[in-house]
């Protein structure tokens, strides 16, 4: 079973929930798909033994064959190639690696060269995987593709997503059996939860909500879940102790067996939810 943990809003507790699940289950694969800011490793402290560069293909013009016709620039939908005064300028950071320029060139003057945009890191048995986008790079999708190619079959897989609801989250949750939406009881949390709910509904994935930093003073998320008939899977109370542990890289399940039981319970609910 593949479980994705997402949120819309950042900082609601995606990593707390996904890493706690991973620390609770006897065996699973944890994949950190927040490749812009991966944090799961801080809590799960895996022994990283593999560090593989993620390469993409970007165009390079062979000026001995190029006649500066400009077809490549015209074909590129991302403005990653310009032909100026007989020269071909490539902007590799914004290239989507689609190969359209190669197809469009009538002189066979464009070849593709490898370019590194980040890495995939793994422990010995691939039960921990994380992607890291290089600083200054805008496009992370190829790293997510690489991570998802390494999903283990026949085991529980936990996917920690990036915040937001754009193409990176779509890429991360696609093909998952269940989505856990983590939120907090503030107007910001509710607003972005609604966005995340729309996304998983659009993709037809079963889902439930975990309310983090829950407090008696707000029923905001409860009311929303009730009115939308969404299962509220778990509540984690607002607690200075949990926040302090988090700041040091410690999860509640790592110091308190009671929390372990609660996350076991959460996993059972996810299993049931995925079967429905």
């Amino acid at each position: 079973m593949k479980i994705a943990v997402l949120s819309g809003k950042g900082g609601t507790g995606k990593t707390t929930v996904s890493a706690s699940l991973a620390a609770t289950l006897p065996y699973c694969q944890y994949i950190d798909c927040d490749v812009e800011e991966p944090n799961g490793g801080i809590f799960l402290t895996p022994k990283i033994i593999e560090n593989s560069p993620v390469k993409v293909l970007v165009p390079e013009a062979d000026m001995s064959k190029c006649n500066a016709c400009g077809y490549c620039a015209k074909a590129c939908q991302f403005n990653a190639i310009a032909v100026v005064k007989g020269n071909v300028l490539v902007f590799p950071e914004i290239c989507h690696h689609c190969g359209a320029c190669v197809i469009a060139c009538p002189n066979d003057a464009i070849r593709e060269v490898e370019r590194i945009i980040g890495v995939v890191e793994a422990n010995a048995d691939d039960t921990f995987l994380q992607g890291k986008l290089n600083v200054g790079e805008p496009i992370s999708i190829p790293i997510l593709r690489e991570l998802k190619n390494r999903i283990k079959k026949d085991t529980t897989v936990i996917i920690d997503c990036s915040p937001g609801a754009s193409c990176t989250v779509v890429q991360s949750i696609e093909g998952c059996d269940y989505c856990v939406l983590v939120t907090e009881p503030t107007p910001f949390g509710l607003h972005d939860l609604k966005i995340a709910v729309q996304l998983v509904r659009k993709m037809g994935l079963p889902f439930g909500v975990v309310l983090n930093k829950a407090s008696d003073s707000s029923r905001l998320i409860h009311e929303f879940c009730e009115s939308e008939e969404i299962e509220l899977l778990m509540e984690i109370p607002f607690s200075q102790d949990i926040a302090k542990g988090y700041s040091r890289g410690i999860l509640p399940v790592q110091i308190n067996d009671l929390w372990k039981e609660k996350f076991e319970e959460l996993y059972k609910k996810i299993e049931r939810g995925a079967k429905k």
Binding site: S7, G8, K9, G10, G11, T12, T15, E36, E37, N39, I42, A75, Q77, F78, H96, C98, G99, A100, I103, A104, L133, V135, G136, E137, P138, I139, S140, S162, P163, G164, A165, S166, C167, T168, V169, V170, E174, E184, P185, T186, P187, F188, H191, D192, I195, Q198, L199, K202, M203, K213, S215, S217, L220, F238, A243, K244, Y246, S247, R248, G249
Partner: protein, 292 residues
């Protein structure tokens, strides 16, 4: 107009809380929310919508079934697995690159423009405010961010400042938010995750040559990590412009749609006021360096 962008790397460190507080304290400014995936500033900054537009930010391939002979060339060419076995485009996977249209021997494929979001410009008591909402699951956050900033430019009237609420992360949306800005304020928190993410986002600011300042929110949650962040900033020559205490009443006020300023939280109001003074001081220093 000086443009200051509030970023953080890690989400949920308090960017929107800080920007909405500053939106009350700072005079003569415009506001923008460049977190187009999950915008929040408009929840606290209300106003009258002056302009609302659909944003056409991407293209998508369309196969004409009456011309398609199912030869499979497009499917072989597509690097994004966006063409199904039935030779239909899978919209969520199509990047709109047009490679399929270029190779189709039947000329059965063309690209169509698609809407990827909506942009808004509002008139508020705190200044003109530009924001946008990306369509669910759409791509092109970066382009939409650029549009939000373009809209600000189209509405400016000699304001002195532009305060931009950024998005978490370090990718396309953040890069589009900070390109050409005068400075960034990285809002951090004293957690191991917050620190790791701060270092990466400061790396992005440095990569693009944009001066950066750091604000540590909830600084007393873990004084040890706060000290580590301060050491790091000192070594990198990045000014730490303020430290906001961990105060559960800030969240309580937010639940009632109030910033700490409107909630009458004096300690936090004073700290945020002093943060703004530090920002303006640092900006003057940068001006002086530029002039020399």
């Amino acid at each position: 107009m000086k443009q200051i962008v509030f970023i953080s790397g890690k989400g949920g460190t308090g960017k929107s809380t800080l920007v909405s507080s500053l939106s009350i304290l700072v005079q003569d400014k415009m506001l923008a929310d460049c977190d187009v995936d999950a915008p929040n500033l408009h929840i606290l900054v209300k106003g009258e919508t002056l302009q609302k537009n659909d944003y056409i930010g991407a293209k998508e391939a369309v196969i004409d079934p009456s011309l398609c002979v199912k030869c499979g060339v497009c499917k072989e060419t597509c690097r994004f697995d966006a063409i199904s076995d039935k030779f239909e485009i899978i919209p969520m996977k199509c990047e709109g690159c047009g490679a399929c249209a270029l190779v189709c021997p039947q000329e059965a494929i063309h690209l169509e423009e698609v809407k990827t979001g909506e942009t808004y410009v509002s008139g508020t008591s705190r200044g003109t405010f530009s924001h946008a909402l990306l369509d669910i699951g759409a791509e092109g956050s970066g382009k939409l961010v650029t549009e939000v900033r373009k809209n600000i430019n189209n509405h400016k009237k000699d304001e002195e400042w532009l305060l931009i609420d950024g998005s978490p992360g370090i990718g396309c949306a953040v890069i589009a938010s900070i390109t050409g800005a005068d400075a960034v304020v990285a809002v951090s928190e004293p957690t191991k995750s917050g620190r790791s993410d701060l270092e990466r986002v400061l790396g992005v600011a440095r990569h693009f040559g944009i001066p950066a300042f750091v604000c540590i929110n909830k600084y007393d949650l873990n004084q040890e990590v706060t000290a580590e962040i301060e050491d790091f900033c000192r070594n990198e020559g990045i000014p730490v412009i303020g430290k906001i205490p961990f105060d559960p009443s800030i969240v309580k006020a937010l639940q009632e749609f109030k910033t700490p300023i409107e909630d009458g939280n004096n300690a936090v109001t004073n700290e945020i006021t002093s943060i703004w003074t530090r920002i303006t001081d640092e900006m003057k220093k940068l001006e002086n360096i530029k002039r020399q």
